[in-house]
């Protein structure tokens, strides 16, 4: 294991939300939008001066460092407020320890390699790509040119999706669902690390590993009946199969598509069976489970989350990143009857995570070609996306009636990432 990242997320949120402020959240944030815009302009100007000075000195000046830290924190506070990751109205100065969702930053500026300072704008691009798929609310700002605010992925980022779904959920229940809160917090944390890297607060590259980001600041979710297992340290990648990965996966993509057609038909039959009996048919459950497992294997191979070429049968226990599924359990008939409608929010989160998965795969491809291994953080971000995809499919295809858990942390009692 490596040293913990110097830019750390702090979460002291109790999930409770005030419906009134949630309903009017965007309007309430208008003063912050104006203030954030002004501060961003100020940071753009001072950030450039800080960059020029730091190239020569190898260390940012303390005054600049404090200013940048304040901006990183304020950005996190505002994003947390907007995306419902926490409830209280944030302050305007980004003071440390003043908000339930906070960012711990190095108190003093640290010496940095001059060449990394000089090329910071270029080195930052891969992190920006990931940040724009996770924390699009701010990633868009960072990715914009000439200060224009836009979402660089064109919408559908994880934080945005969490905020949107969380808004409805919170208005109904008065509480933010843990999964969405954790996912949002993770996106905020990564965005803060990215901004801190760009603004020379630290020279440590952002780490996309969700476990490292969250495990110390929030509880693990309960054990889910659909679990991803495997060795998170299995990072070796064969350069030749990485280079041709997309083409090597083509036979699998054709096979998985054909299998999906049959699996959909099987799921329709299963829907009737489960609705009538309350329990899925064992044979169909086995068939659909194999399909979902095979899909995980193929995606793990395609998106470079695992190294070996997978088999075509979705057999358990043969692939480094595998799926554990419980046997058929009794399911709630209401949940069964409205399964497709109920799955829509999960499908939206799944799509958002799909963007992150794609970005991570693209970056891993370059990294693995050079180093012959996958980067730890991106590998674990991808494993999270795949786990959620598997849980969503298991829910949609009636393998389980347990709703997919959006928390980036694995459930309790699970051996893997």
């Amino acid at each position: 294991m490596h040293d913990p990242h110097p830019v750390r997320l702090v979460v002291e949120d109790d999930y409770r939300r005030t419906r009134l402020t949630v309903f009017f959240r965007l309007l309430l944030a208008i003063p912050h939008f104006i203030w954030f815009f002004l501060w961003t302009v100020w940071i753009a100007a001072t950030g450039f001066v800080n960059w020029v000075i730091s190239i020569f000195t190898g260390r940012p000046r303390p005054w600049f460092h404090r200013l940048m830290c304040g901006y990183v924190r304020y950005q996190a506070h505002l994003s947390a407020y907007l995306s419902l990751v926490t409830d209280p109205y944030p302050g305007f100065m980004g003071e440390a320890g003043s908000y339930p969702v906070d960012i711990e930053l190095p108190e003093e500026p640290v010496s940095q390699k001059r060449w990394t300072i000089f090329f910071r704008g270029l080195l930052f691009i891969p992190a920006l790509l990931v940040a724009s798929t996770l924390g699009g609310l701010n990633g868009g700002n960072l990715g914009s040119t000439r200060g224009r605010t836009r979402n660089s992925t064109g919408g559908g980022t994880l934080l945005l999706v969490c905020a949107l779904l969380g808004w409805f959920a919170t208005l109904a229940r008065g509480r933010m669902p843990k999964g969405l809160r954790d996912a949002g917090a993770y996106a905020l944390g990564y965005t803060a690390q990215t901004t801190a890297y760009l603004l020379l607060v630290t020279d440590r590259y952002p780490n996309a590993d969700p476990t490292e980001m969250l495990v110390a600041v929030t509880d693990r979710p309960p054990r889910h009946p659909v679990r991803v297992v495997g060795d998170p340290y299995d990072l070796r990648r064969s350069r030749i199969t990485v280079f041709f990965r997309l083409l090597l996966a083509l036979p699998h993509l054709i096979w998985v598509t054909l299998w999906a057609i049959v699996a959909i038909l099987a799921a329709i039959v299963q829907w009737f069976v489960t609705l009538v009996r309350g329990t899925p048919a064992r044979a169909l459950h086995r068939f659909i489970s194999a399909y979902i497992r095979y899909r995980l294997h193929v995606n793990a191979f395609l998106f470079l989350v695992a190294n070996p070429f997978p088999g075509f049968t979705g057999a358990p226990g043969v692939y480094p990143l595998d799926l554990e599924l419980d046997g058929p359990q009794r399911q709630n008939r209401w949940k069964t009857g409205f399964r497709f409608v109920l799955a829509i929010p999960a499908l939206i989160v799944d799509a958002a995570l799909g963007g992150a998965l794609l970005a991570a795969a693209l970056l891993t491809w370059f990294y693995a070609l050079v180093k012959g291994s996958a980067p730890w953080g991106l590998r674990n971000l991808s494993a999270y996306a795949l786990r959620y995809d598997a849980q969503t499919n298991a829910y949609l295809f009636l393998v389980t009636d347990a709703y997919p858990h959006a928390s980036p942390l694995e459930g309790e009692d699970t051996t893997e990432a």
């Binding site: 064969s238 030749i240 199969t241 280079f243 041709f244 997309l246 083409l247 090597l248 083509l250 036979p251 054709i254 294997h297 190294n307 070996p308 070429f309 997978p310 088999g311 075509f312 049968t313 043969v318 692939y319 480094p320």
Partner: protein, 395 residues
């Protein structure tokens, strides 16, 4: 080889020979072509240009082929080490090894593809670096899929209890069936727009072939093809051939040629020849891979690919003999249908300047690369036709 196997092979060889003789029969007259001098038929400058272009293009082919064989030979020796990159079973692992082998070949051949484009550009011919690299990459993906299907069939049969080493007896008909299916459905997949000309219907009547004629766009070379079986039969023109400098008279000749293919059942005959080659090739493949455990195990796949490519290369001259024979019959059929040897002659002369095809290539090029009669031979045939009509009053 045991005596009983020899007794089995002899009747099989006899059947093969009879089938080959039946497929070889054609409507071509027993004619002897007079030797023509290409210098008399083509302008010296055009001839020199075509020959120089073809000389270097041949060298590229030679380099590409040698590179391909060298890469596959090395892969045969060391390819097995990539088995560790697979968590699939034996068949899946075999597929992975096969794809990696193809990937190496693709990478090694890439410079030659780029060189060919560069060389074509020097002579003002079309060619795209994008096609030679990026599009070629996607073509490799299609190859991967076909390879996996082929290996799935072969390895699946070889691993089936009761079949084992005799997989080739079943695999050959399966491949012939797939090839037939592909020949049947391919015309519908190609699409194209309808082609209308006043000579289409009269030619169809003469050739007794009433099929749609369509034009495919997006091509840079002038060409045409007859495809399909039964209800799917079609004639396709590549769009450059229906544009100037090609004239309607030439297009009429081209259409008659393609209809001639269909009138003489050349698609079926091609499938017949494919079947005749498939059985011995599959048998040789089975024998060659026996030392590595047979086609049921992934370790045999790198060797199988190498042997397959070598066998293809060895069979190439024979296959070219067959296709040249079929093309000659289609040319003869076109001459009889159009009674216009002048159009044929002009067409073939134009091909030399438009595609820079060498009218009279060296022997090894003729043996390995020419799947059509040479332009000179085709012009000779038009002269023979005109002479025979003059002598006898009918062709």
């Amino acid at each position: 080889m045991t005596r009983s196997r020899v007794w089995l092979l002899l009747p099989a060889a006899a059947v093969w020979a009879v089938a080959a003789w039946l497929l070889w029969r054609s409507s071509l007259p027993a004619y002897h072509l007079p030797h023509l001098d290409e210098h008399a038929l083509f302008p010296a400058g055009a001839l020199q240009r075509a020959q120089h272009f073809s000389d270097v293009e041949r060298l590229f082919w030679l380099g590409k082929t040698i590179t391909q064989l060298a890469v596959l030979a090395v892969f045969t020796r060391y390819g097995v080490r990539w088995m560790r990159e697979s968590a699939a079973g034996p068949i899946g692992t075999g597929m992975l090894l096969g794809m990696i082998g193809f990937a190496f070949v693709w990478a090694a051949e890439l410079p030659f593809g780029i060189l060919v484009v560069w060389w074509r550009h020097r002579y003002g011919l079309s060619g795209s670096y994008l096609d030679a690299t990026v599009t070629n990459w996607f073509a490799l993906g299609a190859q991967f899929v076909l390879l996996c299907i082929a290996l799935g069939i072969v390895m699946g049969l070889a691993r089936t209890r009761g079949i084992g080493e005799r997989w080739w007896l079943l695999a050959a008909p399966v491949f012939v069936g797939l090839r037939t299916l592909l020949a049947f459905i391919a015309p519908w997949l190609l699409g194209g727009r309808a082609f209308h000309a006043p000579y289409v219907e009269p030619l169809q009547r003469i050739q007794h072939v009433h099929v749609p004629v369509r034009v495919l766009s997006g091509f840079s070379e002038p060409n045409a093809a007859a495809t399909g079986l039964g209800a799917s039969r079609r004639v396709f023109f590549w769009d450059p051939i229906v544009r100037p400098p090609f004239t309607p008279r030439m297009d009429r000749f081209v259409l008659a040629h393609e209809l001639g293919h269909l009138a003489h059942n050349h698609i079926w005959k091609s499938l017949g020849w494919y079947a005749l080659f498939a059985f011995p090739l599959a048998l040789l493949l089975a024998l060659a891979t026996r030392g590595r455990g047979g086609m049921g195990v992934p370790e045999a796949v790198p060797l199988a690919i190498f042997v397959y490519v070598v066998l293809q290369l060895v069979a190439l001259p024979l296959q070219n003999v067959v296709t040249r024979h079929l093309e000659a019959e289609a040319d003869w059929s076109a001459l009889r249908a159009t009674h216009d040897p002048g159009a044929g002659r002009q067409l073939f002369r134009l091909f030399a300047s438009e595609t820079l095809e060498d009218p009279s290539p060296p022997w090894w090029d003729y043996v390995f690369l020419e799947n059509h009669p040479t332009l000179l031979q085709r012009i000779e045939m038009t002269r023979y036709y005109r002479a025979s009509v003059r002598e006898t009053g009918h062709p």
